[in-house]
């Protein structure tokens, strides 16, 4: 069965420190990988995606993610966290010939001033 894991329900970091939100997946083939962010009372906003090529992809708001094929991981990172980054983050995976996303359970990020 296809699945996406985000092993941490909650991540707390101090403002200005680097942050990492983890994602691992179990999907056949070479899937496409996405990160979304959800602010309170808002829909999901697209942050970045990995399709092919360089394992480090850069996205919106200073976020980046590193694809590791051997570890089937796609961790989201930011060098210096802002309080405004506090939100719910979802990793999503789509098989290469698939139509639908498989979403992770979400990780709540709290950036403390």
């Amino acid at each position: 069965a296809q699945s996406v894991a985000q092993p941490e329900d909650q991540v707390n970091v101090a403002e200005g420190n680097p942050l990492t939100v983890k994602c691992t997946y179990s999907v056949s083939g070479n899937p496409y990988l996405f990160w979304y962010v959800q602010y309170p009372n808002r829909g999901l906003q697209f942050l970045l995606k990995y399709i092919t090529g360089d394992n480090l992809v850069k996205g919106s708001y200073g976020f980046e993610a590193e694809f590791n094929k051997s570890q089937t991981s796609f961790h989201l990172k930011k060098p210096s966290a802002l309080v405004s980054d506090s939100a719910l983050y979802f990793c999503a995976v789509r098989p290469p010939y698939g139509q639908n996303f498989v979403f992770g359970p979400g990780t709540r990020l709290s950036v403390l001033p």
Binding site: Y32, F34, Y36, N41, R42, G43, L44, Q45, F46, K49, I51, F90, R94, P95, P96, Y97, G98, Q99, N100, F101, F103, G104, P105, G106
Partner: protein, 116 residues
């Protein structure tokens, strides 16, 4: 990209009634989807809304409970029928402008439904 709006943004409904949620996209899109997000949970796909034909439902969701329309390439509706408190959730409309699996998908702000 695509900008998606939903109406209503929230509603409180009585058990046994039905609610229709509208989703409008600011441009023509190939694919539209409806998701449910229960409190503190991730997103679950209800169905793919197909333009001009019946929606494609995921396991555990049926047309009688969640009828969907998609009359054109920019608009869709989801009806939650014969509601019970277990239907209390956020319902999210989503659109993918281009069909390929490598393309991003955009989401509406959601409709927060509470069933009493």
């Amino acid at each position: 990209s695509a900008v998606i709006s939903q109406k209503p943004s929230r509603d409180i409904c009585q058990r046994g009634t039905s609610l229709t949620i509208q989703c409008q996209v600011d441009s023509q899109v190939t694919m539209m989807f409806w998701y449910r997000q229960q409190p503190g949970q991730s997103l679950t796909l209800i169905a793919t809304a197909n333009q001009g034909s019946e929606a494609t439902y995921e396991s555990g969701f049926v047309i009688d409970k969640f009828p969907i329309s998609r009359p054109n390439l920019t608009f869709s509706t989801l009806t939650v029928s014969n509601m019970s408190p277990e239907d209390s959730s956020i319902y999210l409309c989503s659109a993918r402008p281009l069909a390929g699996a490598n393309n991003e998908q955009f989401f509406g702000p959601g409709t927060r439904l509470t069933v009493l």
